[in-house]
C-alpha cells in the first residue's frame, strides 16, 4: 500500500508538472489568442470576445483574459462595416474591460497601450468630430505607456500612427512618426515570439509596424 502510494504520488506529480507547463487556462488562452490574432471577421471576433469572457469567469485575478477580451472588442470597433453606434457600443465594452484589467495590474504597459488603442479606435470612428478632443488623449496615453516601457513595440507603433496622423494634418514632416515605426519594427524583429506566446503575453502588431515602415520609404 505504501509503495502504491509512492508510485501514485509520483504519477500525480508528473501529471502536475505536465499541467504546470500547460494548464487548462494556458491551453485555452493560447488557442483563443491564436484565433483572435488571425481573424478580421466580426462573428469570429465576437466568438473570441465570448471565449475570453468565459476564461475571465474562471480566472478573475488574471489580467490577460480581460486584456484580450477588450482587444477583441477594440478590433470590432475598428470594423469599417459597422455603424458608428455599433462601433461605440463595442468600444465602450472594450474600455470597460481594459479598465478592469488595469485595476488588476496597474501601470502595465500593455494595458495602458490598449487603453490608448481604444481611444484611437473611438477617434477613427469619427475623425472630424472627435479628432480635436481625442487625439490629445490618445497621444498622452501612448506617452504614458512609453514612460513605463519605452521599448514596448505596440506602444511605439501606436505612437507612430498618431504622430503620422498629426504630421499629415499639419502638413509637417513624418520623420518623428517614421522613427517610432522603425524602432517598433526593429524590436518586433528581435523579440522571441515563441517565449512571449508561451507566457501568454501580447505579440500582435508586427504587421502594423512593418506596414508603416514600408509606407515611410
Amino acid at each position: 500500500m505504501k509503495k502504491l502510494q509512492i508510485i501514485l504520488t509520483f504519477m500525480l506529480l508528473t501529471t502536475f508538472t505536465a499541467i504546470a507547463q500547460d494548464t487548462p487556462y494556458q491551453k485555452a488562452m493560447k488557442k483563443e489568442i491564436a484565433k483572435l490574432i488571425e481573424t478580421d471577421s466580426l462573428p469570429q471576433l465576437q466568438q473570441s470576445a465570448n471565449a475570453f469572457a468565459r476564461i475571465t469567469e474562471l480566472n478573475p485575478t488574471e489580467w490577460q483574459p480581460l486584456y484580450y477580451q477588450s482587444l477583441a472588442y477594440t478590433f470590432q470597433g475598428l470594423n469599417k462595416t459597422l455603424t458608428i453606434d455599433k462601433k461605440d457600443e463595442a468600444l465602450a465594452r472594450a474600455e470597460e474591460l481594459a479598465k478592469k484589467a488595469d485595476a488588476i495590474s496597474p501601470n502595465n504597459v500593455e494595458i495602458v497601450t490598449l487603453q490608448g488603442f481604444v481611444t484611437m479606435a473611438k477617434l477613427s470612428a469619427d475623425p472630424a468630430g472627435r479628432g480635436q478632443s481625442l487625439s490629445g488623449l490618445a497621444m498622452q496615453t501612448f506617452g504614458r505607456a512609453l514612460g513605463i516601457d519605452n521599448k514596448n513595440p505596440r506602444a511605439l507603433v501606436m505612437m507612430a500612427q498618431m504622430e503620422y496622423g498629426m504630421a499629415k494634418f499639419f502638413g509637417s514632416g513624418t520623420e518623428k512618426a517614421c522613427g517610432f515605426a522603425q524602432q517598433s519594427a526593429t524590436i518586433f524583429a528581435g523579440q522571441d515570439e515563441a517565449a512571449l506566446k508561451a507566457a501568454i503575453l501580447p505579440t500582435w502588431g508586427k504587421k502594423l509596424a512593418d506596414g508603416m515602415v514600408k509606407n515611410c520609404k
Binding site: T9, E57, L58, G129, R130, S133, M139, F170, A195
Partner: protein
C-alpha cells in the same frame, strides 16, 4: 520575469481545481479515480437557439457552462452547439450585449440537451432613448448632443463667449445691446446658470445699460454643457425660462503653460497634473483702450472697459471606478475686477448734461465666485453628489457723479443621492439651501435698503425605462422662501420614445416658479413667485454626422410683476402680469455632406405677448423678435493649416414703444443681421494665430429707440437709436502652449 508570470497562473489554476472538486488532499485515490474516470464517461451535447423577445435571432451570444471552460457562441442564425465532459447538474449561462443574462439548470448525463433561449432586453444607456425635449447638450461623451464643447469656442462671432455661441442655437434671441441669454420670449433674468450643479450669481459681467456684456467664465474651463430652453428637470428651479448647466473638466491631460497675447490684453495659465489630482491657475488682463483709440467707436467712452481676473482650480479623485467605489472633488475660485466710464446722450437733451455729452455712467465692479463640489459612486447602485457655492458681486456706479452701491450675494448648498434600484428604475432625491441677499445704497444721502432671503428646496425625480425605446421621468420640486413667506410645489414630467430609424419624439411639461428680480424685491420684500407653465414637443435624429431637431412649445406666464412709472423708479408694484409665448424651431447640422466642412442652420419662430413691467396691455416684448435665424460654417483647409469660420445671425427686428403713436410697443426696428468671419492658423502645432471680425458687412443694426420722457414745445417726443458700439469688432490673438509634448495647443481654448 516572464517565466515567473507563467508559473503563477498555473499554480492558481491548480489550487482552484482542487477546491472545486472539494477533495481532501490526502485522498489521492479518489482524485486519481476521478481523473481516470472522466474521459470514459459519455460527452453531453448541448445545443439550441438564442432569440430576443420579438423572436429575432441573436448571433454572437456567449453560452457558458458555468465554472468550466466549456462553451461557445451563437452563430449568425442564433444557433449554438457544443459538447462537455462534465456530468450531473450544471448551469448554463447565456449572455449577449444589450440583453439580460439568463441562467438555465441542466443535467449532463450523456443525453443531448436542447435549449430554446429567449433573452429579455437590458437597458443600454449608451444607445437607449434620452429626453431631448427642451434640451441641448454639448458633450464629447454622449450621443444626443447638438454641440461639442469645442464648438462653443470655434464658432466665429462668439469671440470665445459661451453665451454668444449658445445664441446660434434654436430657441434663443440675440439682443445685441444686452449680450445675455434670452430664451423663447423670456427676459435675461429668467435663465439660471450653474457650474457643476451649483448656482452662479451674476454670471454676466456688470455693465451700463445698452452696453453689451459677456459671460464671466472662460469656455476652456468646461468639458460640456447642458442648455435647456424649457421643460427642464426638477433639479433646477427659480428660473421661468431656461437653465444652463456647465460642467468643468475633470483631470487635464498634462502639465502645460498657456500664453495668450491678444489685441485686447493677455494672460497666462499654468496646469500641473498629478496621478489623481490637478491644479490650474490663471491670470488675465484686458483693456479695450488701445483698440478703441485705433478704431472709431459710436459710444462716447471716457474710460474704456478694462478688467483683470484670476482663478484657481483644484481637482482630486479617489477610488477605482472598476472596483465600484470612486469619486471626485473639485474646488474652483474665480475673482475679478472691472471698470469703465461712459457718456450716454439723452434724447431731446432735456436732462442736465455736461458739454452736451449726456449722462455720465462710471462703474467699478468686483466679483468673486467659489465652489466646492463632489461626486461619489458607491456600491449597490448608489451615487451621491453635491457641494457649496458662494458668489459675491459689488457694483459701484457713479451716475452723474452720484455714487450708488449694489451688493448681491448668493450662497447655495446642495446634496443629492441617486439610487439605481434596477437598470430600469432610478430615483433621485436632493436638498438645497439658498441664502440670497441684496443691498443697495445711495451713498451721498446715506440711504440704504437690503434684504436677506433663505430658500429651502427639495427635489425628487424618478426615471423609468420601459424599454430601450421608451423612457419616462417625473419630478417634483418643493420650495420655501423665508422672505416672501411662501411655499411652492412644482411638478415636472417628460417622456421620450425612440423610433425604428434612430429618430425620437420627446414631450416635456412642467411648472416653474421664480421670485422677482432683486431690484424689485428690495423695494417690496413680500413679492411672491412669478409662474410659468411649459409644454414642449420635440423630434430629434442623429444619423451619420447629421443632426436634425424640430421643436414646438407653448408657455404661459402668470403673476408677473407690473408697476407704474419708469423702471428706475417703479411705483405701485403688483403681480397682475400675465402672458404667453408659443412657436417652433428647427436645427440642422451636417458634418459630412461637404468635405472638410461642418455647418449648422437654425430657425426659431416666437410669438409672445405679455403684460409686465410698466405696460398696461399685453405687448410683444422688445427681446422677443418673431423670426430668428443663424448659419454657422467651419471649414478646415489642411494646406493652409487653417480653420476658416463664418457665422450669420439674423432676426426680423425688435419692438419698441414710440410715445408719439397710439398704443404700446407698436413699432418695430428694421431687421437685425450680422455676418462674422474668423481664421485660425496653426503655423506649428503648439502655436495658434486667431483673427476674427464681427459684422464684416458694416451693417448699422438698431436694437430700439430711446425717447425723451417729456415732449418738446410742439408736443413731439424726441428719440435716439440704440445701436452698436462700433460698426465692426476685430480681434487678433497669438496663443502659445508650452509643454513637453510639442503638439499640444490651445485650439480647444479659443
Amino acid at each position: 520575469m516572464n517565466f515567473g508570470q507563467v508559473r503563477l497562473p498555473a499554480h492558481f489554476a491548480l489550487r482552484n481545481f482542487d477546491k472545486k472538486q472539494g477533495a481532501p488532499m490526502k485522498n489521492y485515490l479518489l482524485i486519481l479515480l476521478l481523473f481516470a474516470a472522466a474521459p470514459t464517461l459519455a460527452q453531453t451535447k448541448i445545443s439550441g437557439i438564442v432569440t430576443d423577445q420579438k423572436g429575432g435571432v441573436l448571433p454572437g451570444a456567449n453560452i457558458t457552462l458555468k465554472g468550466t471552460y466549456d462553451g461557445t457562441s451563437s452563430d449568425t442564425q442564433g444557433n449554438f452547439a457544443f459538447e462537455t465532459d462534465e456530468t450531473g447538474s450544471q448551469v448554463i449561462s447565456i449572455q449577449a450585449l444589450g440583453f439580460k443574462t439568463q441562467e438555465i439548470n441542466i443535467i449532463c448525463s450523456g443525453n443531448p440537451v436542447t435549449l430554446k433561449v429567449t433573452l429579455p432586453e437590458s437597458i443600454n444607456l449608451l444607445t437607449a432613448v434620452t429626453i431631448t425635449a427642451g434640451a441641448m447638450e454639448a458633450s464629447d461623451e454622449k450621443k444626443s448632443v447638438v454641440l461639442k464643447p469645442l464648438d462653443i469656442v470655434t464658432t466665429s462671432g462668439a469671440m470665445g463667449d459661451i453665451t454668444a455661441a449658445l445664441l446660434t442655437l434654436p430657441g434663443t434671441s440675440t439682443v445685441g445691446n444686452d449680450g445675455r441669454l434670452f430664451v423663447r420670449g423670456g427676459d435675461a433674468s429668467e435663465t439660471s446658470i450653474f457650474i457643476d450643479g451649483l448656482q452662479v450669481g451674476n454670471a454676466f459681467g456688470s455693465t451700463a445699460s445698452n452696453v453689451p456684456t459677456r459671460t464671466r467664465f472662460s469656455p476652456n474651463l468646461f468639458k460640456g454643457s447642458f442648455f435647456s430652453t424649457g421643460g427642464y428637470s426638477a433639479e433646477y428651479g427659480q428660473a421661468l425660462s431656461s437653465a444652463l448647466a456647465l460642467n468643468t473638466l475633470d483631470l487635464p491631460l498634462r502639465n502645460q503653460g498657456d500664453i495668450s497675447i491678444m489685441s485686447l490684453g493677455g494672460g497666462y495659465t499654468q496646469t500641473l497634473v498629478g496621478k489623481n489630482n490637478a491644479l490650474t491657475a490663471s491670470g488675465n488682463y484686458y483693456n479695450l483702450a488701445p483698440y478703441q483709440s485705433l478704431v472709431k467707436q459710436n459710444f462716447d467712452w471716457e474710460k474704456s472697459p478694462s478688467s483683470w481676473d484670476s482663478e484657481i482650480s483644484l481637482r482630486q479623485k479617489w477610488g477605482n471606478a472598476a472596483k465600484g467605489k470612486s469619486g471626485f472633488i473639485k474646488a474652483y475660485f474665480h475673482t475679478e475686477g472691472n471698470g469703465m466710464a461712459i457718456w450716454q446722450k439723452s434724447p431731446g437733451n432735456d436732462l442736465p448734461g455736461n458739454d452736451g455729452r449726456g449722462d455720465r455712467i462710471e462703474l467699478h465692479n468686483r466679483y468673486s465666485y467659489g465652489n466646492v463640489s463632489f461626486r461619489h459612486s458607491a456600491n449597490k447602485g448608489w451615487f451621491f453628489y453635491g457641494g457649496a457655492a458662494f458668489s459675491h458681486n459689488r457694483d459701484k456706479y457713479n451716475i452723474n457723479r452720484e455714487p450708488i452701491r449694489q451688493i448681491n450675494q448668493i450662497a447655495h448648498s446642495k446634496i443629492a443621492a441617486v439610487k439605481d434600484f434596477t437598470p430600469q428604475f432610478s430615483l433621485k432625491n436632493g436638498l438645497e439651501w439658498y441664502i440670497k441677499s441684496y443691498s443697495e445704497a445711495l451713498i451721498s444721502q446715506n440711504l440704504k435698503r437690503k434684504y436677506t432671503d433663505h430658500q429651502l428646496n427639495h427635489f425628487v425625480e424618478a426615471t423609468y425605462y420601459f424599454s430601450n425605446r421608451l423612457i419616462m421621468v417625473g419630478g417634483l420640486r418643493t420650495g420655501y422662501s423665508s422672505l416672501s413667506k411662501q411655499m411652492w410645489v412644482t411638478p415636472r414630467f417628460s417622456v421620450a420614445y425612440k423610433l425604428e430609424n434612430q429618430g425620437q419624439f420627446s414631450f416635456a411639461a412642467g411648472k416653474f416658479k421664480q421670485l422677482p428680480e432683486e431690484k424689485l424685491r428690495v423695494l417690496q420684500t413680500n413679492l411672491k413667485n412669478g409662474e410659468a407653465t411649459h409644454y414642449i414637443l420635440n423630434y430629434f435624429i442623429v444619423n451619420n454626422n447629421r443632426t436634425f431637431r424640430a421643436e414646438s412649445f407653448y408657455k404661459t406666464y402668470d403673476n408677473l410683476v407690473t408697476y407704474q412709472g419708469l423702471p428706475t423708479a417703479p411705483a405701485n408694484i403688483t403681480q397682475n402680469g400675465a402672458g404667453y409665448a408659443r412657436g417652433f424651431d428647427f436645427f440642422y447640422r451636417d458634418k459630412t455632406t461637404i468635405k472638410g466642412t461642418d455647418f449648422w442652420i437654425t430657425y426659431s419662430f416666437v410669438d409672445s405677448k405679455r403684460r409686465f413691467a410698466n405696460y398696461e396691455t399685453k405687448v410683444q416684448p422688445s427681446f422677443a423678435p418673431r423670426h430668428n435665424g443663424s448659419v454657422v460654417i467651419k471649414h478646415f483647409i489642411g494646406k493652409l493649416k487653417s480653420q476658416l469660420g463664418s457665422s450669420w445671425s439674423w432676426n426680423s427686428g425688435y419692438t419698441y414703444n414710440n410715445p408719439n403713436l397710439q398704443g404700446e410697443m407698436q413699432s418695430k426696428t428694421k431687421m437685425y443681421s450680422d455676418l462674422s468671419i474668423s481664421w485660425s492658423y496653426l503655423p506649428r502645432p503648439n502655436i495658434i494665430i486667431h483673427a476674427a471680425c464681427s459684422n464684416v458687412l458694416g451693417r448699422s443694426n438698431v436694437f430700439g429707440y430711446r425717447y425723451a420722457t417729456q415732449p418738446d414745445e410742439t408736443g413731439f417726443y424726441a428719440s435716439l437709436p440704440t445701436g452698436q458700439q462700433a460698426k465692426r469688432f476685430a480681434f487678433i490673438g497669438l496663443f502659445i502652449t508650452l509643454s513637453k509634448n510639442k503638439d499640444a495647443n490651445q485650439l480647444n481654448n479659443l
